[in-house]
């Protein structure tokens, strides 16, 4: 009987400890009551119903909390310092090029080899890109059109980083942001991204013309820089890409070579 009582007590302690720990497990940062009261809506999908149910999963303050000021520490202080590079992740995961578009989506382009890298640049049909996309990074001056850029490393030996990936022209601009940074790459690894058709490198939205549009992809590695370029023009009505104008070549994109 005594032993059972001890076991029962242990069970109660475990139950209480477990429930307490579960209650603090969610990393949901505390938000100030004022912020919740003012605008429980999405900044991203403003025309839709606020996800109140999801909010209720994480925010469990009692109503009384809303009536008094709190001195809850700002959870944002938990974020990494913004003036220093982020720490390198402990594990380096392999990276691969983005899924390739369906053949029917490719309007033109091709693959070029530069050093140990193969670069594939295509102009593609992609309904995700346009004037009013679900995210600004899917903005395109030409509705439903985008530039797909990818690279694959074919070197025999792993390449120690950092390897910076940039896109845009000219490359890299003073204010260019690398779209990715890799600590190491190995044979068969790759990367890439898609961007909208941008009639101006700095202005969004931009007035378009029939002047050539260029986009380039460059990898800056400890052993050299490698890249490729695609250029094309719009149709006379400026509503689409002229497939015959699409050419892929080497940087700096002055005299494009035909795709290999």
């Amino acid at each position: 009987m005594k032993r059972e009582a001890i076991i029962g007590l242990a069970g109660i302690i475990l139950l209480v400890a477990g429930l307490c720990a579960c209650g603090t497990r969610s990393p949901a940062p505390p938000s100030t009551p004022t912020q919740q009261a003012i605008a429980p809506e999405s900044s991203h999908a403003p025309t839709l119903t606020p996800p109140a149910v999801r909010a209720s999963l994480a925010h469990t303050e009692t109503p009384s909390v809303h009536l008094m000021p709190t001195e809850t520490p700002d959870w944002r202080s938990l974020l990494p310092p913004t003036s220093e590079p982020a720490p390198t992740p402990e594990k380096i995961w392999p990276v691969y090029p983005p899924p390739t578009p369906e053949p029917g989506q490719v309007l033109g382009g091709g693959t070029v080899q530069d050093g140990p890298f193969n670069f594939t640049l295509w102009v593609v049909k992609d309904p995700s890109f346009g004037h009013n996309p679900v995210a600004p990074s899917l903005y395109s001056d030409v509705e439903g059109r985008a530039v797909y850029m990818s690279w694959v490393y074919n070197g025999e030996e792993p390449l120690a980083g950092p390897v910076f990936e940039y896109w845009g022209l000219p490359l890299p601009r003073r204010d260019s942001l690398p779209v990715a940074e890799y600590a190491r790459i190995e044979r068969g690894w790759g990367g890439g991204h898609s961007v909208g058709v941008h009639c101006s490198p700095d202005l969004f939205p931009a007035p378009c013309s029939t002047a050539p549009i260029k986009a380039g992809l460059i990898l800056i590695t400890p052993v050299g820089s490698y890249g490729a370029c695609i250029r094309f023009t719009l149709t006379p009505d400026l509503a689409d890409i002229d497939p015959a104008s699409i050419a892929v070549g080497y940087l700096p994109c002055k005299d494009p070579n035909p795709a290999r």
Binding site: A17, P40, E41, L79, T82, P89, I92, L138
Partner: protein
């Protein structure tokens, strides 16, 4: 009588021990359980507050909402869920300097049509605006509420988001 008492005690003990042990085990299990790959996009400006009710800022991200995209497992993550990207994402601060982020917290939702696929991540690039308030595109960014809420700065977060494009990336999460 004593046997019946013992049986009752055993049931009570079982009822206490089983959920207690499960709750304790769940509490000490590692928080980081998975590595995912999916499309990454970027956004900027927009409304001041996100779906979670906090001011959206750099270091936050949006993903699908489970009522809109119930088939996306990530849509069920709670507000404040932390993810760590395989490689850092570079952004600009208010002065135009470089800042790196590889840790992001879920504070907003987007893509109600679920077009970006499972484990989609939409990185917030900030609300820095380097154009004068008289500019017709002041605080404007295609794809979000415009004009949105922004701060005067030497950088333009919308340009940064647009230039980010759509990337296929990996990250660690719940």
């Amino acid at each position: 009588m004593a046997t019946a008492m013992k049986k009752r005690w055993s049931r009570v003990l079982a009822l206490l021990l089983i959920p207690g042990s499960l709750a304790y085990a769940a509490s000490v299990a590692p928080v980081w359980a998975g590595h995912y790959t999916g499309w990454f996009t970027g956004y900027a400006m927009g409304n001041r507050y996100g779906g979670a009710g906090v001011e959206i800022r750099q270091g936050h991200f949006a993903n699908h909402y489970y009522a809109w995209c119930p088939n996306d497992p990530a849509a069920w993550w709670t507000w404040g869920t932390r993810i760590d990207t395989d490689s850092p994402i570079k952004q600009h601060n208010q002065s135009g300097g470089d800042v790196y982020y590889s840790t992001f917290y879920l504070e907003d939702v987007g893509d109600p049509s679920c077009s970006m696929g499972n484990y989609w991540v939409d990185i917030y690039f900030g609300r820095w605006e380097n154009r004068p308030s008289s500019d017709p595109n002041y605080c404007y960014c295609s794809g979000v509420t415009s004009p949105g809420f922004c701060y005067a700065a030497s950088a333009n977060s919308c340009s940064d988001a647009i230039n980010f494009g759509r990337q296929w990336r990996g990250y660690t999460g719940p």
